[in-house]
Symmetry: C2
Subunit: 486 residues, 2 copies
Amino acid sequence: MPGKGFVSNIARQSEDFPGWYNDVVRKAELADYSPVRGCMVIRPYGYAIWESMRDELDRHIKRTGHQNVYFPLFVPRSLLEKEAEHVEGFDPQVAWVTRAGGEELSEWLAIRPTSEAIIAEVVKDWIQSYRDLPLLLNQWNNVVRWELRTRLFLRTAEFLWQEAHTFHATEQEAADEVATGLEAYRAVSEDWLAIPVIKGRKTENEKFPGAVYSTSIEAMMRDTKALQAGTSHMLGQNFARSAGIDFLDRDNQLKAPFGTSWGFSTRMVGATIMAHGDASGLILPPNVAPHQVVVVPIFRSEDDRAAVAGAIERLETGLADVSTASGPLRLWVDWREETPGFKFNHWELRGVPFRLEIGPRDVAAGQAVIVRRVDRLKETLPLDSLAAELPKRLADYQAHLFQRAIDFRTANTHHVDDMEAFERTVEEDGGFIHAPWCGDGACEKRVSEKTGATIRIIPFDAADESGRCLVDGKPSERRVLLARAY
Amino acid sequence: MPGKGFVSNIARQSEDFPGWYNDVVRKAELADYSPVRGCMVIRPYGYAIWESMRDELDRHIKRTGHQNVYFPLFVPRSLLEKEAEHVEGFDPQVAWVTRAGGEELSEWLAIRPTSEAIIAEVVKDWIQSYRDLPLLLNQWNNVVRWELRTRLFLRTAEFLWQEAHTFHATEQEAADEVATGLEAYRAVSEDWLAIPVIKGRKTENEKFPGAVYSTSIEAMMRDTKALQAGTSHMLGQNFARSAGIDFLDRDNQLKAPFGTSWGFSTRMVGATIMAHGDASGLILPPNVAPHQVVVVPIFRSEDDRAAVAGAIERLETGLADVSTASGPLRLWVDWREETPGFKFNHWELRGVPFRLEIGPRDVAAGQAVIVRRVDRLKETLPLDSLAAELPKRLADYQAHLFQRAIDFRTANTHHVDDMEAFERTVEEDGGFIHAPWCGDGACEKRVSEKTGATIRIIPFDAADESGRCLVDGKPSERRVLLARAY
C-alpha cells in the first residue's frame, strides 16, 4: 500500500474516529481553533469546499424562485421573546450585546441564533394582500448559538449557513414549500457531495422550537453514526400570529400567512469529511474538490526536469478549456521543492480525486500515470487522451463515491423488532436501525436514555407495517429510523 | 416627457438630495429600516445589486492570488487592545457581548469592527518562514460599528463587506499589494459600476487606525459631494509586532512581516444610486442591473393580448442564449395587471437600462419600441434584430453612463489657490476642488472647520506644482483634492 509510512500522524480512523476527524480537519488545513471559545477559523482549503456547496445550493434556491436578502445580525430581546416555544428553545444558547457605543443598551440585543423573529416583524409591512404572497426569501449569513461542547464544523458557537424564510396564503402551499427546501438539500447532498440521504419527519420532541413540524435529511458517516444534513420546517401561522402579520385574501378576509424556514450550514463540510474519508485522510467528490487533479512532476537531473516541465506545460495548455460537471477542470501542478512521496501523501490527506505522475520516461512514451485516490487504482494513459478522459473519469469517480456510500449504508442498516435486539445492535453493530415505535414521546426518551440512540426521523418512504413498539409493545404502524448521531 | 405625472412621490433630487436618496432606496425597494437601531434590511432588489458587485470583485480577488477564509465574528477585548492606535480608533464604536449561554463572560467579546487584530493573532501560527509568505487572505462578512447618525447603505451600524488581509516578507511587496487592492476597487467601480474614481493617499489625520498609511479611491455623487469608494492600507509591521508574528527570512534572521488590509462594502450600493440617479429614480449600469431589459406588453382586447403574448414568447426564446458582458441577458416580462404607465414608472424608478414596449401594431409590423432609461431616447427596432442589438446597446449604455459621470465630474471640478476663493467655491459651486496644501495637519483641520470640506486624498497623479498653502501660505508642492463628502 503506497504511502503507508507517511500517514501524517493522523489518528487511526478505525480506532479513534473523533481523533481521526480532528486530525484530518487540522492537518489538511480545513479549519482550526480560534482565540474565541467555541469559534473556528475556516482556512482556504475548507472555505473553498464550503463555497462550492454554497454556490450549488444557491443555484437551486434561485432556480426555485427564492430571492436573497439580508436582515440584521441583532434580534431585540422583545422580538425574540414573542413566540413562546421559540424563546424557550433558544434562550439558553443566546449571546447578548448589552453595551455599544460606550453605553449600556436600554434593550439587550441577541446575536441571531436564527432569524424567524426579526424577519416576521419586518415582513409584516411587506405583506398586505394575497398578491404579495408567496414571499420567498433566503439569506446567507452567520449565526451564533453558545454551545458548551464544540467540534470543528460540526458544532461551533458561530457558524455559516443559509436560512430560507417563506410566507404563503395557504397551508398546502407552505407544505409544498417545506418539501421544496428539503429536496434542494437532498439534491446538493447526493448529487454534489455524493452523500446519500434519507428524508423524513422529525418527532415532536425533536422539532424546531416554534415549528408545527420539522423535516430533515439524515446521512450515515463512516463510523456508522447519523448526521442531520439539513432541516426544513413548517411554521404554520405561529410566527405570523406572534408578529401580527395578516393579509387580505381573495375572499376579502384578513388571514395570517403560513410560514416555512429551512437551513443548511458549514456542518456539511464536516459531513463531507466523515462520509467519505479513510485512514489516509480526506476523500473528496470531484464536484466539491478544490483541486480535482494534481500533477506531481518526477525527476532527478536538471535535464529531466526540463523535459517534464515542457510536457506539463503542453498538458496544461491542452486542458485549459476542459469542462467538468462543476465548471472548468481544476488542475494543480505541485512544483514545490519536496519529494514525490511527500507530495503523494500531502494530496492524499487532502482528498484530491486524481494524481498524475509524470517522469522523464513517461514524457518519452507520451504518457502519464494516473492514480485514483479512493482505492489507489493506478493506470497509464496517453497524455493526449487526458482532455477526453479526465472529465469522464471525474464523473465516474463522483458516481463511484456515491455508490460506495450507499453500499456502506446498506451494509450498516439493520431491522430489529424488540428492545433486547435493539440494544445489542446499537452496542455491537451501530449503524441505522429501523424499528417499530408507537409514537409516544415517553418511549422515545426511554430509548435514548437507555442506548444513546435517538429517533432520527420517521422516513417518508417507510412502508405501512403493523408491529409492536420497541419500548411498550403498543401497536406501531411503521418503522422509524434510529441511530446514534452527531 | 413620459411618466412625469407618475414620479412616485420621491423628493426632488435638485432640491433635497438626501430626501431623494432615501425615497429612492425605500420606494425602489432596495433596503429599509429595521427594528434594530442603525441596522438596515437589504431587500431582494438591493441585494441583487450587491451580489453583482460582490461577485465581480471576488473574481478580481481570486485572479490576483487571494484565498477566501472565515474568521470569527468576535474579537476578545484583550486582542482588540493590543495595537494602541487601533483600539483608540475603534473602541468608541464597538458593540460588546458581555453575556452568553446564560452567564456573564469573564472577558467581553467585541463584535468585529474589522478583523486585523484577530487575524494577526491566528496567522502567528501559520507564518514560520519566508516560504509561508506572502499570505494573501480575504473574507466576505458582516462588521459592526456603532454609528450615531446612520443612512441606508452609506452608514449603518452593521454592514457587509470584504476585508483582505495580507502578510509579506518585504515592505516593497506590501506596498505593491496595497496598490493591487486599490486597483481591484478602481476596476470594479469604473468597469462594473461605471463610476469614475480618483486614486490617492489619505492624510495622516484620515488614515486607518493602526496603519502606516492609507489609500483610497474617491468618486463624485450627483450632488457633487465626494464618496470614498474603497480603501487600501499599509499596516507596516504594526499588527505583526503587537501580535508577536515573526518569520525566519532567507538570511536566517527572524523578522516581522509587513501587512496590508483593504475593504469594500455595501456602501457602494449607495454610491451606485447617488452617482447615476436622476429625478425619476435609479439609473443602473447594465453590468449591475438585476433586470437589463424589461418588456411591457401593451394591449386592450383579449385578442390583442394573445397576439402580444405570442410575440413575446417567441422573443424570449430567441433571446434565451444571448450573452452580455455580465453573463446571460437578464430580461424580465412584466405581465402584472397594471397599466403600461404604472409599469413605465415602476421600472424607471428602479433604473432598468432598457424597456421594450410591444403592442399589437408592433407585432403586426414585427417590431418593438425600445426606450433607454437615462435620456428616454426612443427607437423602433425589428424584433428579429434584438438578439444582436441588445448586447451592443447594453455595452454602449454602460460606456455612456461612465462617460456621463466623467463629464459631470469634469464640469464640477475646480482649481483654486487661496482661502477666499476656496470658501466661495465650496459654498456656491461645491464639487471637487484641487488646491495647494503645505502638509500640516493643523491647516487641514482649519479648512474642514471653516468650510465642512475635507482633504479627501493626495491624488497619485497630482503634478509637481509649486504653490502656497491655502491656509498658512507656506510652500506647497502639489495640489490635494478637497470636497464635502459622505
